[in-house]
Assembly symmetry: C2
């Protein structure tokens, strides 16, 4: 009998999650029913959005409940199928959660083609991470050639793709990241024209210096002081793309609102949020574009893979310490060629 | 020889302007030159935006300089003309400033037709105030029939028009104003469905009660806590129209940024600012609509007229104490029928 291992939400955190937020649970799998598939989850996407999902608040998606398996996008392999849509051996992507095996009726699951790209890419550049960068920048930001785009969290999974897509659009890309190593990656690997190291440089004066005519688009993954600085330098008809606010996700006091928000008024600016799920019907468009750009060498992505479901919590923490280099992925099972 | 009286910016205020911010200056008028007109300014528009114009900061318009006449939109009469475009006796509107007479080459001045509406209306519903309400709500807010619109400063010159235009669009209008008298006016005169008295009622719970499905559009004249409350109740794809932030204009400490700004992310909301000047080429469209609606009794405006240039400062203060009932106007000269 197959024994599953699952990361279960044990209690809701106040501020940064701690080692009691989740617990690892072992238990036997039920047999699958007619129409269902049994998926061996191989890779799970570890995302800042997870922090929001465990708050007990209505948001764009219902909260993960205490006792539930932690929600996550996963890539896996069908190891047993009573469904017409999937066969044993298919590689699939869906919301498998942080667990080694999941049973599903197949809704929300789609096949992935390993011949196009290695599996982890389907959680980064060819998955929701890539689509977030694509629709956030292109549909909300609406870049025009020659514009200046500032990106926070620029070495992160989304930010690094925004840099490269912006460059394809013919924009000047300025990225903010923490530490000289990440900043070097912005320049060497992610096509940014300028990198600002927020840990070692005065961000405001560097933005002033690097964006002498101001900022046309600010793609925000961070919030807090960086959002305020961006607003201060926003150009006429500038746009702020609200993709995330990681600096505020663990706030135990009031979130820091953007003091300079009236810059939107004087500059006729627009600050707009989005959630990638709204673009579901357009995912194939983004997928096609990203595949082409990858093939042409115009876009690269990096994946930072940690191994072992028991390391979920320390892996999750890396999102907030910024230790990861590239899209953070947790490997839940070995990828064996024979099964 | 004609003696002019002018309100001159004497020093830049910190916080709320005081009696030393401006001074009244008397002096003789120069004779006009070829191409110029001499205008007797009759009515001057007193606006919250004036507070921003006297800060020494780049904004959407250059600051009024120390020693300059205080900037203001005015309605006046041409009392001498060496211009082909204007004749003696024409009623005109332009940027005359807070002074009894002004000399101009006519640029930026247009004739107004007293047979259509009394002169003060050209500073309220048929002027920039009306156009601000019109373009702010219709172009930035984009209301759809049946939507719920929350308006702060709802008894003010702009807010009261937003209420009525929103009603014409078939929306549910909820206004916030200070005191029972103003709230009664919202309901009796400005077509609001609901009035919330922020001085005597708990705004958050009243909004919760009156907008059970949330807010589609928040038209903000105020900023501060009201903006935060509106963001908390913003619906999916909700819009925040940033028209003003009067609660923050005299701030001596950091402006209060909207703590709930991440509601724009989770609700895919949009917060956008605008300046009416950008719609210059479309003013005639707004003018036509407002005239029609006035004629049909669908829109009313009230003007609160104070008399005497020497009362500029106490009149200006009324904007911040909320004492005015209707569009605040300062009368700079008597309107005599013979001249």
């Amino acid at each position: 009998m197959l024994i599953n291992q699952q990361i279960i939400l044990k209690q809701r955190p106040v501020g940064l999650p701690n080692s009691d937020t989740w617990q690892l649970h072992d238990g036997p799998m039920e047999p699958i029913q007619e129409g269902q598939i049994l998926v061996e989850n191989i890779y799970a996407s570890i995302d800042p959005a997870m922090r929001g999902w465990i708050n007990d608040r209505k948001s764009y998606i219902s909260p993960v409940q205490i006792g539930d398996v932690m929600r996550a996008s996963t890539i896996g392999r069908v190891i047993e199928s009573l469904s017409d849509r999937f066969s044993k051996g298919d590689f699939v992507k869906g919301g498998g959660g942080i667990q080694r095996y999941s049973i599903s009726d197949g809704r929300g699951w789609t096949k992935v083609d390993r011949s196009v790209a290695p599996l982890p890419k389907y959680l980064s550049v060819l998955g929701l991470t890539g689509f977030t960068a694509y629709f956030g920048l292109l549909d909300i930001g609406r870049p025009k050639k020659g514009e200046t785009i500032l990106v926070s969290g620029a070495a992160g999974a989304v930010g690094s793709l925004v840099g490269q897509i912006g460059k394809i659009c013919g924009c000047k890309m300025v990225g903010i990241a923490g530490g000289p190593e990440k900043c070097q990656r912005l320049l060497d690997q992610y096509q940014f024209d300028v990198a600002i190291d927020y840990k070692n440089e005065p961000v405001r004066s560097r933005v002033n210096e690097c964006c002498p005519e101001g900022i046309d688009i600010y793609f925000d993954n961070v919030g807090g002081d960086l959002l305020d600085i961006a607003l201060a330098y926003l150009k006429f008809k500038g746009r702020v793309v609200l993709c995330g606010g990681i600096s505020q996700y663990n706030a135990t006091e009031a979130v820091k609102g953007p003091t300079n928000y009236l810059s939107l008024l004087t500059n006729r600016g627009r600050m707009e949020g989005f959630i990638v799920f709204d673009y579901l019907k357009d995912y194939p468009i983004a997928m096609l574009a990203m595949q082409e750009w990858m093939r042409d060498g115009k876009i690269r992505s990096d994946e930072h893979i940690e191994k072992g479901i028991e390391h979920f919590y320390p892996t999750f923490l890396k999102l907030f310490t910024g230790e990861n280099q590239g899209k953070l992925i947790l490997q839940l099972n070995e990828l064996t060629e024979n099964y």
